[in-house]
Amino acid sequence: MNLFASESEVLAPLVSGWFLEHAWLIPVVPAIAFALIILIGKRLPMKGSELGVLSMLSSLVLAAGAGYQWIQRTNSATEEQFVEPVIKSWSWWRSGGFDFGIGQHIDGLSVLVLIVVAFISTLVQIYSLEYLRGDRRYTHFFAALTLFSGGMLAMVLADNMMLFLLGWEIMGLCSFMLIGHWWEDDANSRAALKAFFTVRTGDAGLLVGITILYFSANNWTQEHLGVSGFSIRGISAWALSGAPNSTVITIAAVALFIACIGKSGQFPLHTWLPDAMAGPTPVSSLLHSSTMVVAGVYLVARLYPVFFVGLNILGGGGNLIMIIGAITIVISAALAFVQNDIKRVLAYSTVSQLGYMMLGLGAGAWMPAVFHIFTHAFFKACLFLGAGSISHSASHHSFDMKRDMGGLRKVMPITFITWIISTLALCGVFPFSGFFSKDEIIDNVGHNGYTNFMIIGLIGAFMTAAYMTRATYLTFFGEPRGASAGHSAHDSHEAHATHDVHDSLATHDAHDSGEAHGPHESGLLITVPLMILSVLALGSGFLNATPFGESWERMKLWVEPRHSEFAPELHHAPFMWSKASLSLVIVFAGIAISWLISSRLFTKRDPRLVGLTQRVKLLGLGHKFLVNKYYLDAFYEKVIVRSIAYPIASAAYWFNQNVLDGILHGFANATRKLSVWVYKNIDQRVVDATVNNSAAFTKSVGTAAQPTQSGKVSQYGALLFSAAAVAALVLVIINT
C-alpha cells in the first residue's frame, strides 16, 4: 500500500467525482424500490410497475454518471498508469474475529457491466409494462424483477466476495421466482426448480472457492494492504504476488469456475438454461441472456488474477476454462439446430456465446471477452424481446417456429428489421457489433497460440450463422403457418394448452379474450425498446473497433486495467483483414448454406431433403441424439439422482426391515425354527421339556429386548445418559 501510494504521487493524480464516490447508491435504489413495491405496490395506480421502472431509470442515470466520470478518470491518467479503482468499504458485521464488509469496487469492468445491466433492465421493465399487462401477479413480477436488478448491481460493484456472494444468491432466488412466475403450469415450476438446483450445484463451488481464498489470502492481504481476505482487490494482488501456493490457488480457481459453469450455463450444467425459457419472455431476455448468465463470466473477469495464476492462462496448452468454453460453443450450437421453439434456439445460442466469452477469458483475451459481454447483451436482449414481440402479437403466444410462424416479415416490419440487425450482429457480420467482439475473441485465441481452439471458434461461428438463418427463415420467410396465418380463432384452446407451455393462460385470457386478431405489429412499448436495442446492436461495436486502429479502441483504454500488481499483463492480437475476411467468409457460407437448405426443406419441400433424418440412419441417430439433448437430462435424472437417492432410500428400508425388526424378531424366529426342527427330528415325548424350555427362552429373550423400545421418554433418556456416562468414563480412564 505504501509502495503504491508513493508511486501514484509521482504520476498524475486521478480525477474522481460524485458519481464514482457514490456508486454504491446504484443497487440501493432498486432494493428500496423492491421493498416499496412489495409493501404498497398493489395500491399504486400502475400496480407498482412505475416504481420499478423509475428505480431502474435512476440506477441507469447513476451508472451513466459513474461511467462518464470513470472515462474522465482514465483520461486523467497517463498512458501506462494503472487506473486505481474507486474503492469504499464499511464494516457490515463482525462475528468472532471475522469482519464482513460492504462496499464498492468501481473500475472499468464494473462500470461497464453496471451500465449494461441498468440499461437492459430499464428497457425490459418498460417492455414488460405491455407484455405482462393484466397478469395476475403483475406487482410481484415487477418486485422480483427490481430485486433481481438490485442483486445483480450489488454483485457487480461488490468490493468483497461476501457481498458478491450475496448478490449472486439474490439473483439465483429471483431467477427461481421469475422462471416459475406462472407456477400453476407444472412445466414452469419444474423448470424453475431445475434451474435453481442446477445453479445451486455450482454455487457450492463458489462457497468453497471463497472460503479457500479467504483462509489462504487473509494473512497476506492484512499484512500488505490492510484489507481482509474477502476483498477482491486484496485477492487480486495476492494472486499475482507469487505468494500463494500453486495447488491452493488452482483448487480455488477450479472451485470458483464450477460456480461459473452453473451460473453461466456452461457444459455440463447448461441444461437448465433452455428450460428456464419457461418464464415470461422479458425474464428470459433479462436474466437468461444478457445479465444473469454473464455473472459467471463476470466472476472470471473480476477475479481474473486468480484464474490467470491458478489455471495457468497463457501458459500454453489448453486450460479448464478454454476446454469447457470450446465444448460449450460446439455442442450448444448443434443443439440449436433441432429446436423448433424460437426461444430455445436463442437460449442455446446464448449458451454458445457464453462459451465464446469463457474461451476468450481462458485464452487470455480478457478485453474481447468483456467487450463481448457488452455487445452480446444488446443484441441478445433484442432477439429475445423480438421473439416475445412475435409471440405476443402475431403467433398467439406460441413460440413454435414450425407450427405458428412464418412469413411474418410483412406484418411485423419493425420486429423484422430489428431481428435481422441483431441476427447479423450475433453472427458476427461486419460492421455489426458482434463482429468486433466475437471476431476479436477468435483472433486473440489464435494469436495466443491456441490454434485448435481458434478453429473450434470458427466452426462455432459457422454454426451460429447457420442456425440463426434457419430460425430467421422459419420465422419471417416462407408461408405463414398456424397462428401467424390468422388461424388462431379456430385453433382450439386445447391445442394451445399443449404447445403453449411458455405463456400461461393468465396473460392469454386477460389480453386476448374477445379480441379478434390476426398477426399485427406490437405496440410502442414493445417496439421502442426493440429499436433502441437494435441501434445499439448495430453501433456498440464501434466503441472498440480494432479494424480502424488504436484511436478507435476506446473500450480498451477505458476498461482494461493496465498491467500492475493488481492486473496481469495481457497481449492483444494485431488486427488483420485477412483473418477477419476468413471468418466473414465462413459466416456468409453458413448463412448461404443454411438458407438454401431451409428454403428447400421448409418451403419447397424438396423430396431429397424432407424426411432425410428418417431415411438415413446415421443422420437419424444424430438427430435423435440432439433432440434428446445428448441425453444429459436423462443422465442427470435417471443415473445421478437415482443412484444417490435410490440406494439411500432402499438402504434405509432394508435397515428398517431387516436390522431393526430383525433384532427384535430374530431371536424369536431363530428359536422358533430351532424348536420346529427339534420337534420334527427328535421324539416329541422325550424332549417335551426341551421344547418348552426353548419356547420359554424365546419368550424371555423377546421380553428382554422388548422393553428397550418402550416409547417412554425417560427410559430413552436414561439409556442415553448411561451410554454417555460409560463412554465418558472410558475416555477419562484412557486419557489419564
Binding site: 462475528s95 474475529g97 436414561a718 445418559f721 448411561s722 465418558a728 468414563l729 477419562v732 486419557n735
Partner: protein, 150 residues
C-alpha cells in the same frame, strides 16, 4: 446448595421442588458473585428467580397438580438413574482432579464490569445476539400458539 438440588429431584411435592429450585438458583447466583461475575449473577436473580420460577409455579397450577405430597412423581427408572449419575460424577471427578488438581483461581481478578460484557455482546458477538433475539421472539410466539385455547 447441593442438598437443595437433591431435594429438587427427590421431593414428593411439586411446589416444594420449585421452591427448592429457588434455593439452588440463589446459591448459583452467589457462586457467580464469587466468580467475579456480578452482572450474570444479577441477571440470574432477575430472570431465573424472578421470571422462570413464576412460570414454573403457573405451570404447576395450570396443570392442576395437587398442592401437597404426591406419591407417583418418580418413574421406574429411578434405579437406573442413580448409578448413571454416580458413574458420570466419577468420570467428571476423575477428569477434574487429574487436570486441575489444586490449581487456584487468580486472586487479583477484578469484577468484570457490565460495560465490558456489553462491549463483547455488541461487538464480536453481535450476530449470536441477533440470533438469540429471534429465538426469544420465536419462543414467545410459539408459547402463545401452543398454549392458546382454540
Amino acid at each position: 446448595m447441593i442438598v437443595a438440588a437433591l431435594r429438587v429431584v427427590t421431593t414428593n411435592n411439586v411446589v416444594h421442588a420449585a421452591l427448592w429450585l429457588v434455593v439452588v438458583l440463589a446459591g448459583a447466583a452467589a457462586q457467580y458473585i464469587l466468580l467475579a461475575a456480578e452482572f450474570v449473577a444479577v441477571t440470574q436473580v432477575l430472570v431465573y428467580i424472578g421470571a422462570v420460577m413464576v412460570l414454573f409455579l403457573f405451570g404447576t397450577m395450570l396443570t392442576r397438580a395437587r398442592i401437597g405430597a404426591e406419591s407417583d412423581l418418580n418413574n421406574s427408572y429411578k434405579k437406573l438413574g442413580i448409578p448413571v449419575a454416580l458413574v458420570m460424577l466419577a468420570a467428571m471427578g476423575l477428569a477434574l482432579i487429574s487436570s486441575f488438581g489444586v490449581e487456584k483461581l487468580p486472586q487479583t481478578a477484578t469484577v468484570v464490569s457490565s460495560q465490558e460484557i456489553s462491549d463483547q455482546i455488541f461487538g464480536p458477538y453481535l450476530l449470536p445476539f441477533w440470533a438469540l433475539s429471534f429465538v426469544l421472539l420465536a419462543a414467545v410466539v410459539g408459547a402463545i400458539v401452543l398454549a392458546r385455547k382454540d
